[in-house]
């Protein structure tokens, strides 16, 4: 095989490859312009946790420690306390509530076991995913950071509708 024919063959391959590449140019864009454009997350996406409250604004968590027991990375720290006051004055929905509820996001692996374990539907995964901080100590989130009434929701995501296509985030919807 002569050098020339090999060069020609290679050039042909390159050209056919380039054809595919160039044919992509007029097509729709597949890259998401994050952070200018919010990214799409699926409804089951496991982001930063949310601690929920009931219709009266009382915390649902009763500090049963099941989430801490289920957690594979031991990132949940709870201190329970008795709250003997009547329902109207209480912090939580029940007479037992979490005085301290910390999640160490330096350890959390977002596996969702705590959500599965919670018997009171008090903790779920939210969609906030921008958790990076400059100071490692800030990764320790307290109850104030996690409560649904207090957590600031990022505008950098949108939740996909279940009727949408999986790759809808790449298309204009």
């Amino acid at each position: 095989m002569s050098v020339i024919s090999e060069v020609l063959r290679s050039a042909k391959a390159v050209i056919s490859g380039m054809k595919t590449t160039i044919s992509q140019i007029p097509k729709e864009k597949w890259t998401v312009q994050y952070p200018d454009v919010p990214v799409t997350v699926q409804p089951r996406y496991r982001g930063q946790h949310l601690l929920h409250v009931d219709e009266m604004g009382k915390e649902k968590c009763v500090a049963c420690y099941l989430c801490a027991a289920a957690c594979p990375s031991d990132c949940i720290y709870i201190e329970a306390e008795d709250d003997p006051r009547p329902y109207e004055d209480r912090i939580g929905r029940d007479e037992r509530y979490a005085k301290v509820y910390n999640i160490d996001y330096g350890r959390c692996i977002f596996c969702g076991y705590c959500v599965e374990a919670c018997p009171k539907d008090a903790i779920t995964h939210g969609y906030n995913f921008e958790l990076s901080v400059y100071n490692r100590a800030d990764l320790l989130k307290t109850k104030d950071d996690l409560l649904i009434t207090k957590q600031k929701q990022s505008d950098k995501y949108r939740v996909a509708l279940s009727s949408e296509d999986v790759d809808s985030e790449f298309k204009e919807v």
Binding site: V62, C64, Y65, L66, E81, P84, D94, P119, K120
Partner: protein
């Protein structure tokens, strides 16, 4: 035991078992496993939960195995469809009215109901109607109750009745409305908390450890109680260097006490992590100045300097310290400076007793199975609750004779087969009457009883074939102790055993560690530099006038009167923070284990003493290892010879120290001087007829118990709040007066 062995077939396997044993015990021991709630070993049978059903050949229906005794040729089936169906049905019944409370309930994770339902359940729940709802309420400052979770196994009522003799808790109402409760809705018992311990569900809960954490979060450390001389084994539950609760669960501990604990052992642990603990060493640089926080190096150097300067030094130990500490203090006195005197501060010095000891000390197990028990003086119910429980069970479940000699009636006197109610302060005369029959008439007269009572007691003792146990309390002076210690040698053909009702957790051990000690007053008066580990008693403190001493160093947990009068205060570690041993009134040497790291800058007592000693130039050969201290004890005390920490590992088999026995010692001198003393007692006196209230000593607020707020309420009459749903701590001030509205809001917020 020479019991007759018979053959029992369980699930096709044949076993040889002792005749008459409860079938449920045999089944569980052989590893077949039947569930049960109401069965509790050594309590009377109840057979109400119907979970332990088995099929026994030739019996028409399923039988509850807890009430069946093994007989020869019995054929038992523990697993079949029929049995499982019955058990499932029972489970369904039990859960029909059980609230969906597991996440809130403090018992979750160690609940027997959960475990049994998990293992034997798979219940198909057909009951969909709304359940009876009752909120959780308080029965006393430390007992919380949720009647709806109850499965009516009545373990609590049986424990209250049989162990404590209080009958404080009972089942009320009838049929499906039956609930566990108490008359008047407020418990005025000794608050021992044993009902909480034995409860298989979350019906009765610990009000001190209320909604704090979960059992699996706690590190359980098996250790010895730091209150009375019974030396109960307990399990300290700690999390992140904080003691949360103390339990005696048999699943963790199976020591001399089983699941029994008293109010102090179980609930009075608030002092360990209390904010008033001394945080750093304190130095008073000038007399009349203030105690100023300092560093360890400075404090040790300062104290060593002052002790060096002094003319004569003295060391005072207390009987709450570990053997290791008392031993180190003794070595400090012996080796640091010549002529240093030493003493042990204790309400009750047992030196004369151990010098004349003629029979081994009796164990708590022997009390439970004794035939005759003679209790001379003391206040067992309030001061040695485990001993009281064993006596009560011996009488109630074992049919033992109880001869109680005391000047004050107590709960135990209702159960005594013979209660010899003597004049106040004349208990010693009974010892004289036993030792010297010729003086019996005189003794009887002084005690204000008939001679016949003494003869009757003597007859009972003479007729005893099994163990005869003689206990005596702190009413007995030095001579009477010596005489009592000698009593067994007068009854050589019988099993006589002795049981001193010592004052503190390590009274016996401290007595062993410091032979040749002097009275506290002598040591204090005779030295111008003092090292005190712990605090002096109020009387000793009043007599000592520490402020006038040139130099006093104190090792303490809190700034007590003694510590406040000191020139140097060293923060000491509590029992939960240090390793060591206590010797209890059975003569068992039992381990104290470190559950948490010492709080703040505290150090174990023996470590402080040895640091001070090395500053003074003495070398004990140990400075950081408690086991090395114990080896030093074993090398220098005959009774502890050859013992090492690994020997003390198993709390189910406690190790007895070998106290020297003196048989046939001549105590005629002591008898004579006792006779003299007794003859000087007044001839007539008014007897004390009023029975003191339950808990008059147990609920006392002391330096240690006072750090648990519930004790203040109990000591101040345990007032019943208007609102039972809210903890009394929110409704009352510590002195027992009701809180004003705005105050309670502040406290709650």
């Amino acid at each position: 035991m020479a019991e007759e062995l018979i053959k029992v077939t369980i699930d096709g396997q044949e076993f040889e078992v002792e005749k008459g044993r409860p079938l449920i015990d045999v089944i569980n021991e052989k590893g077949f496993g039947v569930p049960s709630f109401c069965y509790y070993a050594d309590l009377e049978l109840q057979a109400s939960c119907r979970m332990c059903l088995v099929r026994i050949e030739k019996m028409p229906k399923l039988q509850a195995s807890c009430v069946i005794r093994c007989t020869d040729g019995m054929e038992v089936t523990t697993k079949s469809e029929e049995i499982e169906k019955a058990q499932r049905a029972m489970g369904e019944f039990l859960l029909a009215n059980h609230p969906l409370d597991c996440p809130v309930c403090d018992r979750g994770g160690e609940c027997e109901l959960q475990e049994v339902i998990f293992d034997w359940g798979d219940v198909e729940e057909r009951f969909d109607e709304p359940k009876n709802a009752h909120p959780e309420k308080f029965l006393s400052p430390i007992v919380a109750n949720d009647q709806q979770r109850c499965i009516l196994c009545k373990r609590c009522t049986r424990v209250c009745h049989e162990w404590m003799g209080e009958d404080a808790i009972e089942a009320g109402n009838r049929g499906s409305n039956t609930v566990i409760g108490t008359y008047g809705g407020w418990l005025n018992c000794s608050q021992c908390g044993n009902c909480i311990e034995v409860c298989p569900t979350g019906t009765l809960l610990d009000g001190v450890y209320r909604h704090e954490t979960r059992p699996w979060e706690l590190d359980q450390t098996i250790t010895t109680c730091t209150y009375c001389s019974d030396g109960c084994q307990l399990s300290v539950g700690s999390r992140a260097d904080e003691v949360h609760r103390i339990v005696a669960r048999d699943r963790y501990v199976n020591g001399i006490n089983g699941e029994f604990l008293c109010i102090k052992g179980r609930f009075a642990h608030g002092f360990v992590n209390h904010g008033d603990r001394i945080k750093t060493p304190l130095i008073r640089y000038k007399k009349g100045g203030k105690l100023i926080p300092s560093t360890w190096d400075d404090a040790i150097a300062f104290a060593a300097e002052r002790i060096k300067e002094s003319k004569k030094a003295g060391v005072v130990a207390t009987s709450r310290l570990t053997n290791e500490t008392v031993h180190t203090l003794k070595r400090f006195a012996d080796e640091c400076r010549d002529g240093t005197s030493y003493a042990v501060s204790d309400t009750y010095d047992l030196a004369p007793f151990f010098e004349n000891l003629s029979a081994p000390l009796c164990t708590h197990k022997e009390i439970r199975f004794a035939e005759t028990i003679v209790v001379i003086g003391g206040d067992v119910d309030e001061e040695q609750p485990l001993t009281a429980k064993q006596i009560r069970q011996a009488v109630r479940n074992g049919g033992a004779n109880l001869i109680l000699v005391n000047d004050t009636p107590s709960r135990l006197s209702h159960q005594a087969s013979q209660f010899i109610h003597v004049n106040p302060g004349t208990v010693e005369a009974f010892v004289l009457a036993l030792a010297d029959p010729s003086a019996a008439d005189m003794a009887a007269a002084k005690m204000g009883i008939g001679r016949a009572e003494i003869d009757k007691a003597r007859e009972t003792a003479n007729a005893t074939k099994g163990d005869l146990i003689i206990m005596f309390g702190k009413e007995l002076g030095a001579e009477a102790q010596a005489v009592a210690a000698n009593l067994p040698s007068r009854h050589e053909n019988r099993n006589v055993k002795l049981h001193p009702l010592a004052g503190y957790c390590n009274s016996v051990g401290a007595s062993d560690m410091m032979p040749g000690r002097k009275p506290v007053a002598d040591v204090v008066a005779g030295s111008d530099a003092l090292l005190i580990a712990g605090s002096l008693s109020d009387e000793e403190f009043a007599a000592a006038d520490l402020a006038s001493k040139p130099f006093v160093a104190v090792q303490e947990l809190f700034l007590t009167d003694t510590a406040a009068a000191a020139d140097v205060v060293f923060p000491a570690a509590s029992f939960a923070e240090s390793d060591g041993t206590y010797t209890n009134n059975d003569g068992f040497v039992q381990r104290v284990r470190r559950a948490i790291d010492p709080v703040h800058q505290a150090k174990p007592d023996w470590m402080i003493t040895s640091l001070l000693a090395s500053e003074l130039g003495a070398d004990f050969g140990y400075s950081f290892s408690a086991s090395a201290v114990f080896r030093s004890i074993a090398e220098s005390h005959e009774a502890y010879e050859g013992l090492r920490y690994p020997d003390l590992k198993d709390e189910t088999r406690p190790v007895r120290v070998k106290h020297k026995l003196v048989s046939g010692a001549d105590v005629s001198g002591a008898v004579a001087s006792l006779r003299d003393r007794v003859s000087q007692f007044p001839d007539a006196a008014d007897k004390i007829t009023e029975e003191p209230r339950v808990g008059h000593k147990l609920h006392r607020v002391t330096t240690m118990t006072g750090k648990t707020p519930q004790f203040h309420l109990l000591a101040n009459g345990n007032p019943k709040p208007d609102d039972l749903l809210v903890s009394p701590l929110f409704q009352f001030n510590p002195d027992g007066s009701p809180k004003k509205e705005e105050e309670s809001e502040v406290a709650a917020g």
